[in-house]
């Protein structure tokens, strides 16, 4: 089989695109080359799309349809890219859903087309089945995850006896149906069965998983989306799809592993552990007296300290308080106070969440210190300011064997000379458990919305320095 010129160009554009995608991710390894990575990614995608549009089979009317669909996509995509950083996890989940959907639909269409012109082979059916199963379960699963993150669906895990067996059973049936279809591709009634079961499985897979585990689940779904792209590559015999899919799959897998490690949890525990059930139970702990302080007091303590560590958490993200944090950081550094930020690997709701927020507030990332480096310094720290962080500073993870987060490495805020903790109430964090840090003797609570409270602290500091001047 000889290639037409157009075909050669297409193939070369795919080769180029694959290389550009790899460079794109390589350049992402350091902040100063990262944006070049985006450019490479865009270039690769453009090459791939242009190469595809050259495809001889595409007819004139086809271009209209493609253009139309693309325009709608652009119209939806732009607003989706403007979401606040706190909503990034939901956005990611939704785009996984779209990715899975696309894979599922293409697989479905391919099956139908090949069924009609009778060119279905066992191999083709097999890879289509894999593509469709992964695609559709990613679709519904990701939608569920997005719902739980947006809290439009109850975040609490919903469990019932034999749940895991039922889920695995469903998946099993889908696989069997797939095999049945491979043996005789014309048994077309099996195809809808596969589709339906996959969609259902995606939903049931997420139901028993608590909201706190959604980020991990998203990353896992990320790699499923990648794998479905790989499967599509096998269906369409397109190596670019295989490469891009594999890159995506690897990234999702690695990120979820990192998160599991940082939470000291196993995959199975995340997927089937129904983590977060304990919420009610745990919330009912005996009430130890809580000492609280005003923003003014907090400002005084901070102003007179020589070493301060700020521990940001999900609360800072919710309150969009990073800019107030910046103000405090500047006021204190002006006075020669040594201020560091302690970044826990799973602080917030996605990997690197805190880094993005603090970067947005233009805090130089030289000031951000990872958990392992900061912990040894905690005992020499005069004041630790906890901003909407909870689980990641919960001593129970070190001491209380019974706690669901036991063994998760934490930032040892409690070991510093004094702790100022800001949150709105004594409510638990995402893991849904009490935090002894807030009732510790060297802790003062500064209640209120992070943005407001930190704003007050920043102002108090500013006035003092004015007064001093």
């Amino acid at each position: 089989m000889n290639h037409s010129l157009g075909d050669v160009v297409t193939q070369l554009s795919y080769l180029l695109a694959a290389a550009l995608f790899i460079f794109s991710l390589r350049w992402l390894n350091r902040p100063n080359t990262a944006r070049r990575g985006v450019i490479a990614g865009v270039a690769g995608m453009s090459a791939a799309i242009l190469g595809t549009l050259l495809h001889p089979e595409i007819v004139a009317s086809g271009y209209l349809w493609i253009a139309g669909a693309a325009l709608v996509g652009i119209a939806v995509g732009i607003p989706l890219s403007r979401v606040p950083l706190t909503a990034v996890p939901q956005r990611t989940a939704i785009s996984h859903a779209f990715g899975g959907l696309a894979a599922g639909l293409v697989g479905t269409a391919k099956y139908m087309l090949w069924l009609h012109d009778g060119s279905l082979t066992a191999f083709r059916v097999g890879v289509i089945a894999i593509e469709v199963i992964l695609g559709y379960l990613t679709f519904t699963g990701s939608l569920m995850a997005a719902g739980k993150l947006q809290e439009v669906i109850p975040t609490r895990p919903i469990t019932y006896p034999g749940q895991n067996y039922i889920n695995l059973g469903l998946l099993g049936i889908a696989l069997v149906a797939g095999i049945g279809l491979m043996l005789d591709p014309t048994r077309s009634f099996l195809f809808p069965v596969i589709v339906g079961l996959s969609l259902l499985f995606g939903v049931l897979l997420i139901i028993p998983i608590g909201g706190a585990d959604m980020p991990t689940v998203i990353s896992l779904l990320n790699s499923y989306a990648g794998l479905s792209a790989v499967a599509m590559g096998f269906v369409l015999e397109n190596k670019l799809l295989i490469t891009a899919g594999a890159l995506d799959g690897a990234s999702g897998f690695i990120l979820s592993v990192i998160m599991c490690r940082a939470m000291n949890r196993s995959f199975t525990n995340v997927l089937f552990g129904a983590f977060g059930q304990v919420q009610v139970a745990a919330a009912v702990g005996e009430a130890k007296p809580v000492k609280s302080a005003s923003a003014q007091d907090a400002a005084d303590y901070l102003g007179n300290a020589s070493r301060v560590v700020i521990v940001p958490g999900y609360g800072m993200a919710v309150a969009q308080a990073q800019h107030r944090v910046k103000e405090i950081y500047e006021e204190l550094t002006k006075r020669g106070v040594d201020v560091k930020f302690a970044i826990h690997p799973v602080a917030g709701r996605m990997p690197g969440h805190m880094n993005v927020l603090l970067a947005e507030a233009e805090i130089p990332y030289g000031a951000l210190v990872e958990m392992d480096e900061i912990n040894p310094e905690m005992p020499q720290t005069d004041v630790t300011l906890v901003v909407g962080a909870n689980d990641v500073v919960n001593p129970a993870a070190r001491s209380d064997k019974g706690s669901p987060i036991y063994g998760m490495p934490i930032i040892d805020a409690d070991k510093s000379r004094m702790v100022l903790a800001n949150k709105r109430s004594m409510n638990p964090g995402f893991a849904g458990i009490d935090n002894a840090l807030y009732t510790a003797d060297n802790t003062l609570m500064v209640f209120g919305d992070a943005k407001a409270v930190l704003g007050d602290i920043a102002n108090a500091l500013r006035h003092e320095s004015k007064a001093a001047a």
């Binding site: 991710l25 990034v88 785009s95 269409a109 015999e237 995506d248 990120l255």
Partner: protein, 98 residues
């Protein structure tokens, strides 16, 4: 042809997996959020399949499914790259201050 090419495809898959793991492991923790959205955009390469299905205009069903797939993929491409760049801009500007 399918069978013939099967092993090339397995080869590509194997190599891509190695590349993927090595490349991703080198990504700085600082950039894990942008990483998520970038791989997002890249995996929207499914657009290639969607375009062909839609473009062939074989029958109404495939056109419909294809068009939706194109829409979904393009959405991911656009939003994925834009939001990644939006986040990275923040880091980029920090670089000198570092």
């Amino acid at each position: 042809m399918a069978e013939l090419d099967l092993f090339s495809m397995l080869f590509v898959l194997m190599l891509s997996t190695f590349v993927g793991f090595q490349v991703i492991q080198n990504v700085s923790r600082l950039l894990h959020t942008p990483l998520m959205s970038l791989t997002n955009a890249i995996s929207a390469i499914a657009v290639v399949g969607s375009i062909i299905i839609t473009g062939e205009q074989k029958d109404t069903l495939s056109i419909a499914l294809g068009a939706v797939a194109v829409f979904a993929s393009v959405t991911n491409i656009v939003s994925g790259f834009l939001i990644t760049d939006r986040m990275l801009k923040m880091f980029k500007e920090r670089e000198p201050k570092r």
